[in-house]
């Protein structure tokens, strides 16, 4: 979506920049005005790069003159402390036409301090105070007239997730774009002017922001956050927090496996076995005579059979169930709480609590996980997280494949594979800790308010991620199966299998057809696992196959992302590391397993 508008266009056309502290709801406002769909969640650091889009709503009111909107990562101050925040500061330096400074109603003091810093740029600014509903819950409101008279710039109160106040905001933008001079000529009140003077000390500026915030609040009722606070206390205290965290993880596992298996067993398998597959087989058989082409379509790797069954009947249900669980987790605000509980432990392997978010996202797909690491303050954390995700965090498609493959024997092999992957993650962290001497930044993490996830928002997010899976996940998978079908039916696969025999059969103890998944796995992670399904493997072979699949090459799209984020050298290094670990680990497990079998 970033490609839609070039930077040159940004400078030529009226451009509106959204700026504000993290997790205040800038992306919600952006999505409303542009019809785009950038990620939203209840924790700081959801947006890690800028997104530009056309504000069609607004253009309509301005005789279709194009208007650009830019969403940037949230920033507490304009002294960027990580790569993501730097994006916001850079964008402000590009002198946009108008800045919408989104303030957090609950934390006006630091929001106002940020506003002072933004006003220093002397760009026309409109203020939106968001999350007014949360403020009202704590029995307070903002005296807008008072604040407006002091700042002398337009102020709109909004509840962006409910679209409250967004119309007024739009009117304000339109009226500015029609008569831009009005805002430029406005002069702030002497108090605010004082805050904008360059020689003022940081303490005095904070005092001014504090005073302004304190006097702007007005009490309107009782604080009704008491019950929520006592629940929150249980979540963050270690003695109760750890058992609850364990419970949450078990529930998530149950949602993913239970919902996924249910969908598959009762809806998709009957549908495919009784209707879709017979229909395709009959149609193709009727149209084509037996031969190479027909086999490619409906034979062993027939891509009209496996190419549909694997992505849609096998992987899709788990994608759906995973994103249900992840979205609930994201929007409740629980993830940073899990992060601080685990911070002490993560520190021992060179990570900090905040890194739990990219790691968890990685269990959906490695790419958002690697990108989310941009919000981390040190390169050390970014690199460690990227390596861990590429090496040993299976994406949900691969997890779906694991569940299908391993539950043929026992569904308990699934947690076993996961425990093994956590051991490797731990080891990877310890080894990296020896090689990287960069010190971790001491953690300072804001815990967002606990919120009940909103059904409409959750449903929309799940739908978007699902759509993303269909286009970016299922399509490459179908193509991968198509390539396999051609290689298999033309006999090329057999030649390759012969060539790779010493590795596959000799070292890993797998049947020689298992060369196929190794080849396909370069394309998609789950394809290292799926072809093993029909090979009638023993339990040990299944486990070895799973371990190799788990550590093997992260898919080609991940390598491309790594190269973009860290450079080609590191991407190739990670490729080498994962492949070596996969083969070494697989071979060792096979031998240990055999030894174990002998001893019993």
């Amino acid at each position: 979506m970033t490609e839609e508008i070039s930077t040159n266009q940004l400078l030529d056309q009226p451009t509106i920049l959204l700026i504000g502290p993290p997790n205040v709801g800038k992306s919600v406002i952006f999505n409303h005005f542009t019809d785009l769909n950038v990620g939203m969640a209840n924790y700081p650091g959801t947006t890690v790069s800028y997104t530009a889009g056309r504000a069609n709503f607004i253009a309509e009111q301005l005789d279709d003159q194009p208007v650009n909107f830019i969403d940037v990562p949230g920033t507490y101050t304009l002294r960027a402390t990580n790569a993501a925040e730097q994006v916001a500061v850079d964008m402000l330096g590009q002198s946009p036409t108008l800045v919408i400074c989104v303030l957090d109603a609950r934390n006006l003091d630091s929001s106002l301090h940020l506003l002072f810093q933004v006003l220093e740029y002397k760009i026309p600014t409109v203020v939106a105070i968001n999350r007014i509903d949360l403020l009202e819950n704590s029995g307070l409101k903002v005296d807008i007239e008072y604040l407006g008279s002091l700042l002398n710039i337009p102020i709109i109160q909004t509840v962006a997730v409910e679209k409250k106040g967004l119309n007024e905001l739009q009117q304000e933008i339109v009226s500015f774009l029609n008569r831009p001079d009005d805002l430029k000529s406005s002069t702030p009140n002497p108090i605010v002017k004082r805050a904008l003077e360059s020689d003022i000390s940081s303490e005095t500026r904070w005092e001014l922001a504090d005073d302004l915030a304190r006097t702007a609040y007005e009490k309107i009722g009782e604080d009704s956050t008491g019950i929520k606070e006592s629940w929150d206390q249980l979540l963050i205290e270690p003695w109760s927090g750890f058992p609850i965290a364990l419970l949450v993880l078990v529930v998530i596992f149950m949602i993913i496996v239970g919902l996924g298996m249910g969908l598959r067993q009762f809806l998709l398998i009957p549908l495919f076995d009784n209707f879709i597959i017979p229909f395709i087989e009959n149609t193709v058989s009727a149209l084509l005579s037996p031969g190479l082409f027909r086999e490619i379509l409906i034979g062993e790797y027939g891509f009209m059979i496996k190419g549909l069954e694997w992505p849609f009947a096998l992987v899709m249900p788990y994608v759906l169930s995973f994103y249900v669980a992840l979205t609930l987790l994201e929007d409740s605000g629980y993830m940073p709480r899990l992060g601080i509980l685990l911070d002490g432990v993560l520190n021992k392997i060179g990570l900090s609590g905040g890194n739990i978010i990219p790691l968890l996202l990685g269990y959906g797909c490695a790419i958002p996980g690697i990108l989310a690491a941009r919000a981390m303050s040190t390169r050390r954390e970014r690199l460690t997280v990227a390596i861990m995700i590429s090496l040993a965090v299976p994406c949900i498609a691969q997890t779906g494949a694991f569940i299908a493959l391993l539950s043929e024997f026992s569904v308990w092999l699934v947690p076993l594979v996961f425990i093994f992957s956590w051991i490797i993650i731990l080891l990877a962290g310890l080894v990296m800790d020896l090689f990287i001497s960069e010190q971790l930044m001491p953690i300072t993490l804001e815990l967002p308010e606990l919120l009940m996830p909103r059904l409409t928002v959750v449903a929309k997010k799940i739908w978007l991620r699902f759509k993303h899976f269909i286009f970016d996940g299922a399509v490459p998978m179908v193509i991968g199966v198509g390539i396999a079908a051609v290689l298999y039916e033309t006999g090329t696969m057999h030649l390759i299998a012969q060539f790779m025999r010493p590795l596959v059969d000799g070292w890993l103890g797998l049947p020689e057809e298992a060369a196929t998944p190794l080849l396909l796995g370069i394309m998609r992670r789950e394809l290292t696992v799926l072809p093993l399904l029909d090979m009638e493997l023993s339990m040990l072979q299944l486990f070895v196959g799973s371990v190799v699949g788990l550590f093997y090459v992260p898919c080609i799209a991940v390598i491309a992302t790594l190269a973009k984020e860290y450079g080609l050298r590191i991407a190739l290094g990670i490729l080498l590391l994962t492949t070596t670990t996969a083969f070494l680990g697989g071979g060792i497990i096979l031998r240990l397993g055999r030894l174990f079998a002998l001893l019993i």
Partner: protein
């Protein structure tokens, strides 16, 4: 704060305690360990990577050392790894040692690493209590320097305002072997930051303030009596206090942790994890190394 000042007789008592045979034995073992490094360069590198690099770079950061500054390192030992790290950072370092045997091996290993020829590293034989620290921007004082408190006091006296001292002092089990020197024992016109190190060490970074530094009004109650200052880390669960001083960190102020703010400790995470504090309805997790440097006073009960 004046109450913390200790008399000279107390110092002598303190010093007497340290000359126990056990204390000397431990010092010798550590010296022997470092001597292995003199003969095996690979060992020296490993030792440095494991114990020194992270800590020294953190000390440099907190003491706001700039390349080109003149630094005195008291008690460099036979394997002067801290001095090496400082020279590599670009400082001009004078390394002081009171044992000529140890100084010889230090010179030897420095030569093998081509550090002496660069002219940025000089060795001197001498006592820490007698050295003249005027003209240095910063002084490092090693853990095994003895008597550490006296050395620190005399160095501090000669330092010009704005000058910094970094000294290492034990925490945890190591405190049973080495005496622990608190910044308040040295002087009261200073600002102190703590860095947690490895294996029971911690570093303290001191900055000398002008003699009559203006004390913040937070330090005194309404009648002008000094209030007891504590760190965030010393607060009990659920207890409230008012912040008087915070360390240099770009995130603390915007998250609401600023002087004058009332905070409540909500939770203390296990395994050395962060502390969760609440200030005007906002919950923030703060690392313990930062919490150690956030100063507070308890509220008046009237």
């Amino acid at each position: 704060m004046k109450d913390h000042k200790i008399s000279d007789t107390e110092i002598q008592e303190f010093v007497k305690d340290l000359s126990t045979p056990f204390f000397r034995m431990v010092r010798n073992i550590i010296c022997k360990l470092e001597k292995i490094g003199v003969y095996i360069p690979g060992f020296a590198r490993l030792y440095r990577r494991l114990f020194y690099n992270k800590i020294v770079s953190r000390e440099i950061e907190l003491a706001r050392i700039k390349p080109g500054e003149k630094i005195l390192h008291i008690g460099c030992g036979a394997l002067p790894l801290t001095s090496f790290a400082l020279v590599e950072f670009g400082c001009q370092v004078t390394a002081l040692e009171n044992s000529s045997a140890q100084l010889r091996s230090a010179r030897k290993i420095a030569k093998s690493q081509r550090l002496v020829e660069s002219g940025d590293l000089q060795f001197e034989l001498g006592e820490g209590t007698q050295v003249d620290s005027t003209g240095y921007q910063a002084v490092w004082v090693s853990l095994h320097v003895y008597p550490q408190l006296q050395v620190l006091k005399s160095v501090f006296k000669k330092l010009s305002p704005g000058g910094r001292i970094v000294y290492r002092t034990p925490r945890g089990w190591l405190a049973k072997l080495y005496p622990r020197v608190e910044p308040e024992m040295i002087a009261d016109n200073l600002k102190a930051l703590r860095v947690k190190g490895w294996l029971g060490k911690q570093s303290l970074v001191l900055e000398k303030l002008p003699e009559k530094a203006q004390k913040s009004s937070w330090n005194h109650d309404r009648t002008g009596n000094p209030l007891k200052i504590l760190t965030l880390n010393q607060l009990h669960n659920g207890e409230q206090a008012v912040i008087t001083d915070t360390p240099q960190n770009d995130l603390l102020a915007p998250l609401g942790l600023r002087p004058g703010r009332k905070v409540r400790l909500r939770a203390r995470e296990s395994f050395g994890g962060p502390l969760v504090v609440e200030t005007s309805g906002r919950k923030v997790a703060v690392d313990r190394s930062l919490a150690d440097n956030i100063k507070l006073v308890r509220e008046n009960n009237d």
